[in-house]
Amino acid sequence: MRRLALATLAMLLCVSPVLAERLVSQLSTDLIEITSSYDGERITFFGSIEPAAGAEQRFVEGPFHVVIVVTGPAQARVARQKTRNFGIWINTDQVVFDRFPSYFQVLSSGRLLDITSPTTLAVENILPEAQPTVQDEAGWWKSSVFGRELVRLMTQKGFFGLSESGVQFLSNTTYAARLTLPSDAPPGSYLASTYIFRDGEIVARRAEGFAVRKTGFERFLAVSATQQPFVYGIACVAIALFTGWLGGVIFRR
């Protein structure tokens, strides 16, 4: 017991000077509202690295590196493969990923491999390629092949990405980063995790959330389409009939 206490004390002594920094950060917005003219939104991340509360030193010493990981709401996604059968290309194989992030962008202040080791990147789940979780029913090999393809497709669509010059240092300890959320990024809650690295080790971290949601008329339409589908359908038909009739009246057909 005493040995354990000593070991803990020793570890604390070792660790505490390393974790003497803290991160003060702020998002430019915590709610992105989708209105009829919504065409994506730019988010700015600000942050400053400061001495931890209660730490003895009055300033922090770098050089620091910043990595920001922005994750979107999880969705069930399916990846499908086409093969040629009887001269026609048909989807013949698929793997379902139950909880796959709909959005995954990594911004960093330098090359990730210069910032830290591949092990840390893997443990902290920082790389876009590390996203697919293995699906039992599909088997390890197949799900890793399809997962890789899914990540590639998401990257092509702009949902996944890595920008190794995405974070700019304004001074030795303050940084800013910009991210443009595309208009087809799904609504939901997003998580921005910021990691501060020094000499390949994480010295501070912080997670902040922001929400993307439809408001006003767009929200009304989306909610009625899912909760009152029958009324919504009748409204669609009524609008169609009215528009058609009006067109006939205006143009005297």
Binding site: R77, I88, L150, P186, A222, A225, P229, V237, G244, W245
Partner: protein, 310 residues
């Protein structure tokens, strides 16, 4: 100007939507077809998810056919009795079509069946129209008098049981082919997002021998009622009707159709049909190529779930 489509969950240029609505409306006014067979593929090719495109175009087809149906109704060009049979069987077919739509989407084969359906349907209709119009153009060049087919000629269809008298069309025929045509068009129309006027009109003319002054009006009324029901079914079943998308297309379509209808006067019937045949065949070939050519990417992805449009 970008506009955000709340169901498709993407933002599209408003003028692009009204533009393709108008262009397709112009062609539909010119040729007297609904235009769904052009609009659905155009939307799919421009990045709108296939399920949203199909479901929203059904709403647009209702609007595009309403003004025509109304004007035919005023002129007395609709056989209500015949239309009732077609509509009821059409709605029955639409139930099947929407159910098949959901199953195929879950299986990941929706795009394949939409492409196959358009290929077979448009390919065969386009080829038939092409042959017919080229024949009549050639005959006219040679100076042969083209005789209209006789409306009251009987064929095997007139020998079927359960005959019903359709007074306005002056027909006394079995209800079986009528219900059959309605069901098939309801099924295909709801699966592919087309009104089916381009199958309905030839079917009424050549199979049932409905007189020419009743054909267009009855077919239009059937399209309005059946596609109206299909829109509601899609809204309930797949929740992929985008009212904003449909409305933008409607505005363009209704306006474009008027210009198309006036341009109609400058072209002759056979020429019109030949042009329409070329258009129909072009869409069919486009779908055919997408099936046969090696795709740029053999992998594709989709979201699963009620809002799963992509």
């Amino acid at each position: 100007m970008q506009i955000y489509l709340p169901i498709a969950e993407l933002s599209v240029n408003l003028f692009f939507l009204i533009g393709i609505g108008g262009a397709v409306g112009f062609l539909s006014g010119l040729f007297g077809v609904g235009g769904g067979f052009l609009l659905t593929p155009l939307l799919i090719f421009s990045g709108v998810p296939a399920s949203v495109a199909v479901a929203s175009v059904t709403g647009q087809v209702v609007a595009a056919s309403t003004s025509g149906a109304l004007s035919h109704y005023r002129r007395g060009g609709i056989d209500m009795h015949l239309a009732m049979y077609l509509v009821l069987s059409g709605i029955l077919g639409a139930f099947g079509g929407v159910a098949a739509f959901s199953i195929l989407r879950a299986l990941g084969q929706l795009d394949l069946f939409i492409a196959l359906g358009f290929l077979v349907l448009l390919g065969s209709v386009g080829t038939l129209m092409m042959i017919e119009s080229v024949n009549s153009i050639v005959k006219q060049r040679r100076g042969v008098v083209v005789r209209e087919r006789q409306a009251h000629q009987h064929n095997w269809i007139h020998g079927l049981p359960w005959r019903v008298r359709f007074k306005k069309s002056r027909l006394y025929i079995s209800v079986l082919p009528v219900l059959g045509i309605g069901t098939i068009i309801g099924f295909l129309g709801s699966l592919l997002g087309v009104g089916g006027g381009f199958i309905m009109v030839p079917a009424l003319v050549y199979l049932l021998r409905v007189p020419g002054n009743m054909v267009i009006g009855t077919s239009l009324l059937q399209v309005v009622a059946m596609m109206g029901a299909t829109t509601i079914l899609h809204a309930v079943q797949s929740q992929s009707v985008d009212i904003l998308l449909a409305f933008c297309l409607m505005i363009g379509g209704v306006a474009g159709a008027q210009f198309g209808a006036s341009a109609n006067k400058y072209l002759r019937g056979e020429q019109l049909r030949a042009l329409l045949a070329i258009l129909v065949l072009a869409v069919a070939i486009r779908f055919g190529l997408s099936l046969v050519l090696t795709p740029t990417d053999v992998f594709s992805m989709a979201v699963i779930g009620p809002g799963g449009a992509r």
